[in-house]
Amino acid sequence: MSLLYFVLLPLLALFLMPLYRKHLHIISVMLNLTLLTLALTCTHTLPMVERVAVDLPFAITFVLERASWLLLTLFTLIMSLVSLYHLRYGNDKALFVASTMLGVGVSGLILSHDLFNIYIFFEISSISAYLLTALNQDVKAYGGAIRYMIVGAFASLFLLLGIMLIYLSIGVLDIGAIAERFGLIEPRLQFLILLSLFIGFGIKAELFGLNFWVADIYQASRSSVGSLFSALLSKSYLFVLFHLTYLLHVSPSQLFFLGLIGALTFVAAEFSAFKSHESKRIFAFSTLGQIGIITLALSYADAMLSAAALMLILTHAVAKTALFLALDLLERHFHSSHSTIFARFHAPFLMGIIALAGLSLLGIPPFAGFVAKLSILTGLASLEAYGAVALILLISLIEAAYLFRLLTGFRQGTGKERLYVAWSHKLLLGFMVLLLLGFGLMPEPLLQLCQAAAASMLGGNHVPL
């Protein structure tokens, strides 16, 4: 089994599009399920290292270790769920191309160990994200896409600068080799390189100070696309950012800076979410908040905390996908995503899904989100970071406030419309909530996977060559 199939198979499916242009939705489901199966079959052969092209120490390598395997499986799972969700809506060429390419981009980002190759996949995922934003072809969509392209151009400019400076000063692109030689660089130049890479990935990973645009993008795009953005895109950039951070052995003060950024992201996002009345913006800010917590936890470079952060990535991705897909059903019906639409319909199943996924997001037992948040809090407490514990608990109250405000919307209003939800969608959304519930009740296997992943992620330059 070659790791390159995660990139080559979707590309082949794209380029052969003229052969089956009427059945793209079916092809998409088949493709994503195949990739999910492939990812699952890799479990027993981890870690996998594959040289691309030449047998040279520092040529392009693809590496699948525990952490990237966990994310790859999550990504293929989410892609499969989203493509299954769209099966009902028939053939959509633009969605097929952009989402398949997004899959290629994010898998490449987490698999590749070559910095310039990472840049290529960075651009692939960005461009597909621009296309996904503009999917609706109205003023909002184009406004959002243009904003996204402007910040994206900034990000790629700085990322490119960082990569160029690395090659100019140490002459290698493989991130393992960069880690080996990074100490040879002049400290001021090191700082400049780290800063450029941080700006490049930080913009895309939606960190504080660089994330002023995020809510607009989510608002401009369809809700179902929001699930891809929130579950795949920001997570993959965050993974690359921290992978590089751990490999390059950044100083404790720089790690502290990252943690501070994470905390600020969290606080700012939750306050913004509280003030917002547009449900897509609320969910976008809530994603930002979770990214803040994840960044904060990862910045301690501690095995237990990193495992908890990975767990939060998984549970948040599933919960947010369920929420965004449910919201997409509402948006398709009402052609609006203002939070007042919650008072205008009657559909017990959908309301239940939104409530349960929201509870998992908030970290209420017995859902998986609770386990993730609890292990983050205990991890922080064991490191005696009581300030961070207090901050998370306090700000979570705000999160609870706006989520409950959203949910109480269901109880208001009169003359509600009865909303019909197709059985296939019920099955899909129910599966996701059951997944959250199952991992909440039996968290041990998932926690063990996350701990192994965190160990391999923190292990740094572990790849046997």
Partner: protein, 232 residues
């Protein structure tokens, strides 16, 4: 007047900010010292044994870093797809000039330019050039036709899309074949010739052929979309 003054002030501040940033950047970049050895030099060393290609840049682009090229080709595909999807078309050509002299000139030049593009593509492993450069040259022949014939010229969209998709699929299939028959993407599954001759690259030439075809079709499509955009 007031507005103008604030505008000027903000420009001044931005200019100051940017220049301070650039000066700080330049101050740090003075510390840049060239590395002892680079991965590119190693590739240059092994190029003679592993590829038999006289142009080292070509072997880096298509063989040592073939994956980057594949990614770049897919980015171009994605972008052209987006342009085709979002641009509204009309049959009117925004730039057409109905000039007989230009039309005759285009008739004469069109095959020559295409031939030159094909030359650049097929000699990409021997001299400067290759799939991208040759593809753009071929596309420029089509742009010349657009300019000369105005509304009356419309290349077959079906043919263009088909050649674009199929050459892309051919490129990926070449990679997959390398994985299946050889042991890596774009592995040398063909025999190599002697250095310096036309048929010396093996797979590398096929890669550039596909890339050239794809870029030619894509650039033609791209310019067509902008030339025949519906009037604003």
């Amino acid at each position: 007047m007031n507005l103008k003054r604030t505008l000027a002030l903000s420009h001044l501040l931005t200019g100051l900010l940017v220049s301070v940033m650039i000066i700080a950047l330049l101050g740090t970049l003075r510390l840049l010292t060239p590395p002892i050895d680079t991965i590119g030099e190693t590739l240059l060393h092994i190029n003679a044994q592993s590829t038999q290609v006289a142009n080292a840049v070509t072997s880096v682009v298509t063989y040592f870093r073939g994956l980057d090229t594949l990614g770049e080709v897919s980015i171009l595909f994605l972008s052209i797809f987006g342009v085709a999807l979002h641009m509204q078309h009309s049959t009117r050509n925004l730039f057409g000039a109905h000039d007989t002299l230009l039309q005759i000139g285009a008739q004469v030049l069109f095959p020559l330019i295409v031939l030159f593009g094909v030359y650049i593509i097929t000699h990409g492993h021997l001299s400067p050039g290759g799939g991208f450069q040759g593809g753009v040259i071929i596309a420029s022949a089509f742009v010349l036709r657009f300019l000369a014939y105005g509304d009356h010229y419309e290349p077959s969209a079906r043919l263009l899309t088909l050649s674009e998709s199929l050459s892309g699929a051919g490129l990926v299939l070449l990679g997959v074949l390398g994985l299946l028959l050889g042991d890596r993407i774009f592995a040398q599954i063909l025999s190599l010739g002697t250095m310096g001759t036309l048929l010396s690259g093996g797979v590398i030439e096929l890669v550039y052929l596909f890339v050239g075809l794809k870029v030619a079709a894509e650039m033609t499509l791209l310019s067509q979309h902008f030339i025949k955009a519906r009037d604003v």
